[in-house]
Symmetry: C2
Subunit: 334 residues, 2 copies
DNA sequence: TATATTTAGCGAACCGATTCGACGCAGGAG
DNA sequence: CTCCTGCGTCGAATCGGTTCGCTAAATATA
């Protein structure tokens, strides 16, 4: 394997000259540049990542921490993984994907050993043990999801509260006064996935203000429980005219369920949900929904992270940025 | 940040002694071990990954190369990502996830810069440009998927030919003589995803041997084309008694489609497919199907890879291993 | 008792890059 | 004709580990 020393010898210059020619950090004469370029090509030289990381204290790798909770719907997570990955690559960074159960320990391991220049954390919980670790790490971190105490960290998330308000407003405006809200499973609430709280609480608060009947249910993440819970919900509220679904696994099963039951949308029931365009595409979902923007969130997180990496001091105050919800009308409410 | 030198000073020994105590590669007296352990704890020492990689020529990182083809069904890919990731972690390896469009260039970059100790390649095409790169890389590689010329590389894949035969045999045995086969989209065939060929060709060959009518169709990967293509297929063969589906996006949409059409399974039509348990769970699929075993394949690939990493010479001849298909009966054929 | 082997630890070389300071030389200012 | 400045390059130090060879003492072997 060719080293920078081999290149230097081949080009008849010193190793430092090669390094400067390659990095452009000092000026090198055109002739020398050309000789070095030729030598690099000739020998097929690629800098050794470990050596470079050791000397420059930069790995050009970002950590991406996520869980694959058995009780969650993996396809939804993918959207974030993909957007983070491609945004990073565009900026010259690779992705170290960390999926360990003990996220805090994994995060400590990865940051303390200097394997990464920064970390993106997905699936943030209300009091997430990884946050304290991240805060005391040498590397900057960006969270996708809002924790209880985001101090010192950049946070990006959908404005779930506003999303709920947008949806309730829409339904209210169309005359709906008896609405069902299907949330994620109860244990996702209990586990501390705060976006679930924010959405539910905002919906309830808004409905109360309008004097709407809003009936809250907690869904399931797997069949056949999904089916059963849907049955139970619909039977218990025959007068409800609209359904808000905030539950990935359920929304994926909903089209089949409704058509089995002989219900058509929006004739028999108006349906609104929350999901990304890609998710809707993969699952053939026809519903009017708030766009969850995983692509935008992933990209924003990566860009901010890289900004902090390159400019630790001047990056400014930690940011909490909410993406505004956008209701995509697919004709399933009226 | 504490270095090994700090630990050595704190424990009153040399740096090499610390290294040996930590790695266990030479014997160190219990007393010294204890002093070093205390110093490590005290200073919160974690070895620097770059330095370690440079010195030991081992990164403890595996590359994972995959595409997120827009025209493929991302959730299916996830099964492999998850199994590779957790298998690697259990063996002490982290995962560098590479999703670039130009897989060959990315692979070259990652291997030549020594960022990884080995690579798992997903979604292998018949003549996959990454294979030649992998073959001339310093690091070993494991393929999940069978290419035209696997020479020199370890390959793991489902036995798609046998899967087709198992399914056709089953249907034939039950008396079916007029069967529809729905394959992946035509452009997936054209792109060179060889598993599609193997499955289709084996099914056709087997059907021909039995004198069965097997009608081959090419599906779609997105709505509303999925819907349309299903309509067209079913209308064109009203006499067919069974349907074999080898198409992730379509199978996910099938339950809703059939119930919309008022067809019940297996009363009106027997249905057999190919998918993993997890995929079936995520998409609420009720069909009798061949288990595609992404968990097993990922694990096998990682284990073999690590074996080669640790024992470059003695690992033996390259392996082409097919996982035997197992038909999981969910009662949708009769 | 003399010799071989094992155990415990040290010191130095090495892995392959980056980066700082210095130096020679050319051209421009005074 | 100096002095200064900037350009292009080199040499050496450095990053933080691992590993080889050596030594000396303790233990085993003959």
């Amino acid at each position: 394997m060719a080293t920078i020393g081999d290149v230097a010898r081949e080009a008849g210059v010193s190793r430092s000259t090669v390094s400067y020619a390659l990095s452009g950090k000092r000026s090198i004469s055109p002739e020398t540049q050309e000789r070095i370029r030729a030598a690099v090509e000739n020998l097929g030289f690629t800098p050794n990542a470990g050596a470079r990381a050791l000397a420059s204290q930069k790995t050009m790798v970002l950590g991406l921490l996520l869980h694959f909770n058995a009780d969650e719907f993996a396809p939804a997570m993918m959207q974030y993984v993909m957007s983070v990955s491609s945004a990073a690559r565009e900026r010259g960074y690779d992705i170290l994907m960390i999926t360990e159960d003990d996220g805090a320990a994994a995060l400590r391991r990865v940051t303390e050993s200097n394997m990464v220049d920064g970390v993106v954390l997905l699936d943030i919980h209300h009091s997430d043990p990884r946050i304290e670790v991240m805060r005391s790490a040498r590397q900057p971190g960006a969270l996708i999801g809002l924790p209880a105490e985001p101090y010192g960290l950049d946070v990006f998330d959908l404005d779930f509260g506003e999303a709920a308000r947008v949806i309730v407003d829409k339904l209210y405006g169309l005359g709906h006064r008896d609405i069902m809200l299907l949330c994620p499973p109860k244990h996702v609430f209990d586990r501390g996935a705060a976006y679930t709280w924010r959405f539910r609480d905002a919906a309830q608060e808004r409905a109360a203000r309008y004097g709407i009947h809003l009936h809250t249910y907690y869904g399931e993440s797997r069949q056949p429980a999904i089916q059963t819970s849907l049955e139970a919900m619909l039977s218990s509220r025959p007068d409800a005219t609209a359904l808000i679904v905030h539950n990935d696994a359920t929304i994926a099963a909903l089209p089949a369920f409704l058509s089995n039951r002989g219900m058509s949308v929006p004739t028999d029931l108006s349906v609104v949900s929350l999901y990304s365009k890609e998710f809707g595409r993969d699952f053939s979902l026809p519903y009017t929904a708030v766009e969850t923007s995983p692509g935008e969130l992933g990209r924003m997180a990566v860009e901010r992270l890289i900004q902090r990496i390159n400019n630790p001091d001047q990056a400014g105050e930690p940011l909490v940025r909410f993406v505004a919800p956008e209701l995509v009308d697919r004709g399933t409410v009226r």
